[in-house]
């Protein structure tokens, strides 16, 4: 029930936010660099680029690809990238605190009813009784680094189950997968397409959904340098509107599936230009479809979720206690929830 109304509301808001922007005169060919990871969750930018939404908004966009979210945040701070999408991490908050980065919109969201991030258990731990998140007490939970979104998710799940977990930093997703397969760590949480691919191969077991523990989780946000947010208003608005058009196409094709099978197929082919490029289309397609999570319409931002994440980072002593929502977020660009 609530799901439906919220989605409907968001669609409306997104549409409302987008429409007036479309009528604006295009900026004169503004060059900019957009940071991206080769993940399905970054599809909105790819769609906006491929379908010419950026060009229509007068933006000459060049992608710069990264291996992890962390260097992308640093690239924004150093001016090597102008806009990017990434999870709220300790690094991002620290950069915001230093006046280098600003969250300006929301991207990927957990939403009940849509397949979201999964909680995984290693086969060894599963066989030893870790069949549901209730048994996580005393287990080893994998994360890339302290202050990453994995750390946040693990902590929230542990808190909800009053479990004491050990958090094991492994730096890279690849290393985590290796450690999980060989039973070096017991549990992890990850986006659905990776989770399903692993579980489908029998390498790990899915034991729960992150959405059950962190409803309305604002997984990734759109951010830019503080300078862009404050002084390049026209450019930033143009970027967000084009990004939102890309998100709308993506949601319609793969999340809400309202655009029909052909549109879905086109969308998967478009994304395949950027994601899983090392695999043939037939193999990549299921992973791309599985990875489709809601990208907020109109790049709306769930400030409640961001506030909750910020509070957690502060409570863990990972960021300075002086950081406020105002330092982290510039809420003037998009609708908030």
């Amino acid at each position: 029930m609530t799901t439906f109304t919220r989605r409907g509301a968001m669609g409306l808001l997104g549409g409302a936010a987008t429409l007036p922007m479309l009528g604006r005169p295009a900026l004169a060919n503004t060059k900019m660099t957009v940071g991206a990871l080769r993940f399905t969750s970054h599809a909105a930018s790819f769609v906006a680029y491929e379908r010419g939404y950026f060009a229509e908004a007068g933006l000459d966009v060049e992608f710069r690809f990264f291996q992890a979210a962390q260097p992308m945040a640093v690239a924004i701070a150093s001016g090597d990238a102008d806009y990017a999408v990434t999870a709220v991490s300790g690094g991002l908050i620290s950069l915001a605190e230093k006046g280098a980065a600003k969250v300006i919109g929301g991207a990927l969201s957990e939403e009940p009813g849509i397949d979201g991030q999964k909680i995984l258990a290693s086969n060894a731990a599963f066989d030893a009784g870790l069949t549901s998140p209730e048994m996580l007490d005393g287990k080893r939970f994998a994360m890339t680094q302290a202050g990453s979104s994995f750390h946040y998710m693990g902590s929230k799940i542990a808190a909800a189950e009053s479990a004491e977990m050990q958090f094991v930093p492994l730096q890279k997703v690849g290393a985590i997968i290796g450690a999980l397969k060989s039973g070096q760590v017991d549990a992890w949480s990850i986006v659905p397409h990776i989770a399903k691919a692993l579980a489908g191969g029998g390498a790990v077991q899915i034991i729960g959904d992150v959405a059950d523990y962190i409803p309305d989780y604002q997984v990734t946000t759109v951010f830019t340098s503080a300078d862009n947010a404050a002084n390049e208003r026209a450019q930033t608005e143009a970027f967000l509107s084009a990004f939102a058009r890309g998100a709308d196409d993506f949601n319609a094709a793969l999340v809400d599936k309202t655009a029909g099978a052909d549109a879905a197929e086109d969308m998967v082919r478009l994304i395949h230009k950027y994601v899983y490029t090392d695999r043939p289309y037939e193999k990549a397609a299921p992973s791309i479809r599985n990875g489709a999570m809601r990208i907020n319409a109109g790049a709306a931002l769930n400030t409640g979720s961001v506030q909750d994440q910020l509070d957690w980072f502060k409570a863990e002593g990972l960021v300075k206690p002086s950081v406020t929502m105002d330092t982290l977020v510039d809420a003037s660009y998009v609708d908030t929830m």
Binding site: A73, G99, A100, A146, G147, S148, F167
Partner: protein
């Protein structure tokens, strides 16, 4: 011609007038090109640099994204000290360094001596060591996690392998450089093979082995950070990595300063051992 010293004047004058019979001082030409130990300059360089950064960050000339304020780094270090977290991080790192380096160094010395003594071993292992040396040990970390487990085993293995190869190279070099006439002497007196190795080869190679140890242990400290990339919750390396991912420059620099101090400490430790064991050197 200048005459800085009045006493020399007659001689200079004589030289100027070309009077070859007058005595002239021979000019001094032998200065310079000799490193002289000047106390305190090193410390002053440090202090000036740190003061410059402190001033720069306070006036805003250096942004807080570029460098942390030294006084803040000091405060962070103070927090580490008072909360006892310093030891929480130091203890595992030190034990990893000590255990890993002890394994790598002792195996390295054994293999290096064997290479130095036996031509068969040399022919077999020198190419292997040359192949192992340039491998970035960090690249093998995931493999080590599978082989030795994600806990201390893989960390020991990484540091051990990292210190092993340079120790082998410096050890067999040191054995090669042992004065052959001493070995010939030992043989001419009919000393047994074991005696020659124990009493002539090993003590003779010790200076080379110890100076190689400086490099090996420095590499061990470098690898501490790499070793703590996977699965370490505590440790100086883990602390630095965490600070890096949080973009917390104060903690990052506090950690780096601790590593530097560790490097200086091991280097001076080896210096002390050298003074104790190698006082026979000319």
């Amino acid at each position: 011609m200048s005459d800085p010293d009045t006493d020399r004047r007659p001689a200079e004058a004589a030289a100027a007038t070309g009077d070859a019979s007058a005595p002239r001082p021979v000019p001094y030409r032998g200065g310079g090109y000799r490193p002289v130990h000047i106390r305190g300059i090193g410390i002053v360089t440090f202090i000036v640099l740190i003061a410059l950064v402190e001033w720069g960050t306070r006036t805003g000339w250096i942004s807080n994204l570029t460098l942390p304020r030294p006084s803040d780094v000091l405060a962070t270090f103070g927090d580490l000290w008072t909360t006892g977290m310093l030891w929480t991080h130091m203890a595992p790192s030190l034990s990893r360094l000590v255990v890993g380096a002890a394994m790598g160094v002792s195996a390295g010395i054994a293999v290096g001596v064997a290479i130095g003594l036996f031509s068969v071993v040399r022919a077999g292992l020198v190419p292997l060591v040359a192949a192992l040396f340039p491998i970035p040990k960090i690249a093998l970390l995931p493999l080590f996690v599978i082989w030795f487990g994600i806990d201390e085993g893989s960390k020991y293995a990484l540091i051990a392998l990292g210190t092993f190869t340079p120790t082998v190279v410096s050890t067999y070099g040191a054995v090669d450089n042992v004065d052959r006439t001493l070995i010939r002497m030992g043989q001419s007196f009919g000393l047994s093979w074991v005696s020659i190795v124990r009493k002539i080869v090993l003590p003779g190679a010790l200076p080379g082995i110890l100076s190689g140890l400086r490099v090996s242990l420095a590499i061990g400290i470098i690898l501490l950070v790499a070793a703590e990339m996977l699965g370490a919750q505590y440790g100086i390396g883990a602390y630095i990595l965490e600070a890096g991912s949080l973009y917390d420059l104060e903690r990052l620099f506090a950690g780096v300063v601790i590593l530097s101090a560790l490097g200086v400490l091991t280097s001076s430790g080896i210096g002390w051992v050298e003074r104790r064991l190698l006082d026979w050197r000319v």
